[in-house]
């Protein structure tokens, strides 16, 4: 009787809600995160097509192929331009609007905050299609309203700027909301002291507001860069990397290699390079800012 009781309590300990929940989480991360990452690293060293079962060791041949491929470097450059410009304007626009919304001159703050955040929560595919139509030279709204005659998505000079414009429009709301939260938590006494010392608006902004928002800025920069370095949906929908290869980004190239050409080995090697690039960039950001505390 005693034995039955003790074995029952051991079982109930093993199958406790906490253990089951933790097990589910561990299994989830192992299957959907750790394993795919490990598989991508291993796959980058193989001629790999899981759809037909090809998996042959090729060593560093995939890396040699991509590092000598002109399109890979074009894609890296395009990615850097896209990520850099989009992040910069996301921050500038986001911060400007956050300052505006936190000032006393703007009414209906909650409605405006919701309005600005709406594009962020709208699916990117849908937004890309709408903007593709807006950019159309024959019936698109942009050329009609501005009186311009630009074939936005089919002109190599304008295709990337067009996608960047769309991306900034979609994403600035995210920065606005985060900056607003940051601004609301800024200590009032510092501003009062600055006011007593006779600091003007510009001085207050550059000497107080911006430095105090460093953590928010760093967080937005890093999350933006990581997400923009992986961007491919808008490129897939709006230009398919064209005209020619002028809007190929590294993530679009990975998608193209994996799901159009079924070279999963080459795609994995590209993903590994992107992973390392993103990691190094993030470390540099932390070092440059001299602040690793995002809280």
């Amino acid at each position: 009787m005693k034995n039955t009781k003790s074995s029952g309590s051991v079982l109930s300990k093993i199958f406790s809600l906490r253990n089951i929940a933790v097990t589910f989480l561990v299994v989830y991360f192992a299957v959907f995160l750790a394993y795919p990452i490990f598989k991508a690293f291993a796959g980058s060293l193989h001629d790999w097509n899981p759809l037909v079962g090809t998996y042959e060791w090729v060593g560093l041949a995939n890396f040699a192929q991509i590092l000598t491929d002109k399109l890979f470097w074009t894609s890296m450059l395009n990615t850097a331009i896209f990520a850099g410009v989009s992040t910069f304007f996301r921050i500038v626009l986001g911060l400007a609007l956050a300052l505006l919304l936190s000032s006393k001159i703007v009414k209906c703050k909650d409605s405006l905050r919701g309005l600005f955040y709406m594009p962020t929560i709208t699916p990117l595919v849908a937004v890309s299609f709408v903007w593709m139509w807006m950019f159309d030279p024959q019936f698109g709204m942009i050329d009609r309203v501005t009186g311009l005659n630009i074939n936005w998505l089919h002109d190599t000079k304008w295709a990337m700027p067009a996608i960047i414009i769309m991306t900034i429009w979609k994403d600035f709301g995210y920065a606005t909301v985060l900056y607003l939260a940051g601004i609301m938590n800024l200590p009032r006494d510092v501003y009062e002291a600055a006011s007593i010392d006779g600091a003007n608006g510009v001085q207050t902004f550059f000497k107080i507001t911006l430095p105090l928002l460093k953590s928010s800025t760093l967080f937005i920069v890093i999350t933006s860069l990581i997400s923009y370095l992986q961007a491919y949906v808008q490129f897939l929908v709006m230009t398919e990397g064209g005209p020619g290869t002028s809007t190929y980004t590294i993530s679009y190239l990975i998608f193209d290699q994996a799901f159009q050409k079924y070279n999963f080995g080459v795609a994995s090697a590209q993903a590994v390079v992107l992973f390392l690039f993103t990691g190094v960039l993030t470390l540099i950001m932390f070092k440059v800012s001299g602040d690793t505390d995002l809280s």
Binding site: F15, L17, I20, L51, H154, G242
Partner: protein, 462 residues
């Protein structure tokens, strides 16, 4: 505490049941068929199908058919209904998978033991399904006798994994209203590209220097198909003599790229900036002529039903018979899963014989896919030839060439070259060289071998 325990137990139970459900089951329940004599006629010309027999010994059996199409677009669906009516013990479940997912989900499913017994095939994905598809259990001589393009699908052992039900190629679609407005009649239908240019110029309209109506529009993804046809017209193969490398960077491709560029820049019959999609532009009545394959009829019917259009054969460079008028491609018959059980494969093979012997399958394919029958007995059929696109294809059908299930890079890199020349200002020589390099890189690990050498007039190539 009790609630916690009950909740934990519920989660564990659900998990166990969920995992168990993943295993699936092949046990079939349903009607047993005992009547071998169905009282039906034997069907077919050379491939004969006698329906008066029991399938799977009359025992119930469940199969799956996977397709990106649906009833009304994939002719196999109607055949499944007809087959199940004859054999009540057979249940074929149709599974629709979107095109984008199909080519990753299908090979992975076929790799396992529970993949569909029968599946739709597009020959451009041949390399992905070939390892898993079973050979057809039909004599090759019978296939060749009934289907004119069957021989190109035979492997070195004379076996096929699929053949063409119908085939298609490019034609010129013209807007009848704009044609009449320009004072053109049926007598003006061009047969050479020189004649075509003159007609296209008449169909082009400008207002204050800005184009308002294009005589001919190939903006978008039309180039890949056009260049292949133009190269064949001049006797240039798409692949090297040994069939393993792309033959893109050559004088003929350069000449044809220049010819297309001249249409816009010199003859001013269209413009790079006049819409980004030739289909949409034609559908909106803004472009008078486009080059398109048979699918265009379906697109026009579905999206632009008000456009009154005609179809004529793609012009050639001279009045002489060319090496080939154009490339063709086939809509494939279904594949049989070689990893399925013997029972399922036997039923699938029986189903394949049933559809290949059955003219209704081909008639449905002609109707749904706007394509020309590959079955020789239907190539002179009056009802089929009443469709304009069939009438345009029929006189050229012997002089159409199939390069084989070409890797995607042949089209995508060709498209990139086109965009580089037309939109990025790159020189033709540089664009062709870049595209050739890309094709070479992409095809390096491919097992592709061109079927051009199987073309009846292969010896006439350059």
């Amino acid at each position: 505490m009790n609630i916690k325990k009950a909740f934990a137990a519920a989660i564990a139970t659900v998990s166990i049941f969920s995992l168990a459900a993943c295993g699936g089951s092949n046990t079939a329940t349903g009607t047993t068929d005992t009547k071998a004599d169905k009282g039906l006629d034997v069907m077919g010309q050379t491939i004969k199908y006698d329906p008066n027999h029991l399938v799977n010994d009359g025992k119930p059996i469940n199969l799956e058919y996977w397709s990106w199409g649906s009833k009304g677009s994939d002719p196999v669906y109607d055949m499944i209904d007809a087959y199940q009516k004859i054999y009540p013990n057979v249940k074929i479940k149709t599974v629709n998978v979107s095109w984008d997912d199909y080519w990753t989900k299908l090979p992975l499913a076929l790799k396992g033991k529970n993949g569909p017994a029968i599946f739709n095939i597009h020959n451009s994905y041949d390399a992905l399904i070939r390892p898993y598809a079973a050979d057809y259990d039909i004599d090759k001589a019978d296939l060749e006798a009934d289907y004119t393009t069957a021989s190109v699908h035979e492997d070195e052992n004379g076996k096929v994994k699929y053949i063409d039900s119908v085939i298609n190629t490019g034609n010129i679609y013209y807007n009848k209203k704009l044609w009449a407005e320009a004072g053109l009649t049926d007598a003006d239908i061009p047969t050479t590209w020189d004649e075509f240019i003159k007609v296209a110029q008449k169909l082009t309209k400008t207002d204050g220097g800005k184009m308002t109506q294009a005589g001919f529009n190939f903006n978008g993804d039309a180039y890949s198909a056009i260049y292949q046809g133009l190269n064949y017209q001049k006797g240039e193969l798409l692949f090297s003599e040994d069939g393993t490398k792309a033959n893109y960077d050559n004088d003929v491709t350069a000449e044809n790229m220049q010819f297309l560029k001249d249409l816009y820049d010199k003859y001013k019959v269209g413009s790079n900036d006049f819409g980004n999609d030739y289909t949409q532009s034609f559908g909106n009545g803004q472009s008078a002529m486009i080059y398109a394959w048979g699918h265009m009829e379906g697109t026009l019917k579905e999206k632009y039903p008000d456009i009154e259009y005609g179809i004529f054969a793609t012009p050639t460079f001279t009045k002489d018979t060319p090496f080939a008028y154009d490339r063709y491609n086939g809509e494939s018959t279904p594949g049989v899963n070689g990893n399925q059980t013997k029972e399922q494969q036997a039923v699938a093979q029986d189903f394949i014989k049933f559809i290949l012997a059955n003219d209704d399958y081909i008639r449905d394919a002609v109707k749904y896919l706007n394509s020309f029958p590959a079955k020789s007995s239907l190539q002179e059929d009056k009802d089929i030839l009443a469709q304009p696109v069939m009438a345009a294809i029929q006189p050229r059908v012997d002089r159409l060439i199939w390069p084989g299930p070409a890797p995607a890079t042949v089209e995508t890199s060709g498209k990139t070259a086109f965009e580089n020349v037309f939109q990025n200002g790159m020189s033709i020589a540089e664009a062709l060289k870049t595209a050739q390099n890309q094709m070479d890189t992409d095809m390096k690990s491919s097992n592709f071998k061109s079927m051009e050498s199987k073309y009846a007039y292969y010896d006439e190539h350059k």
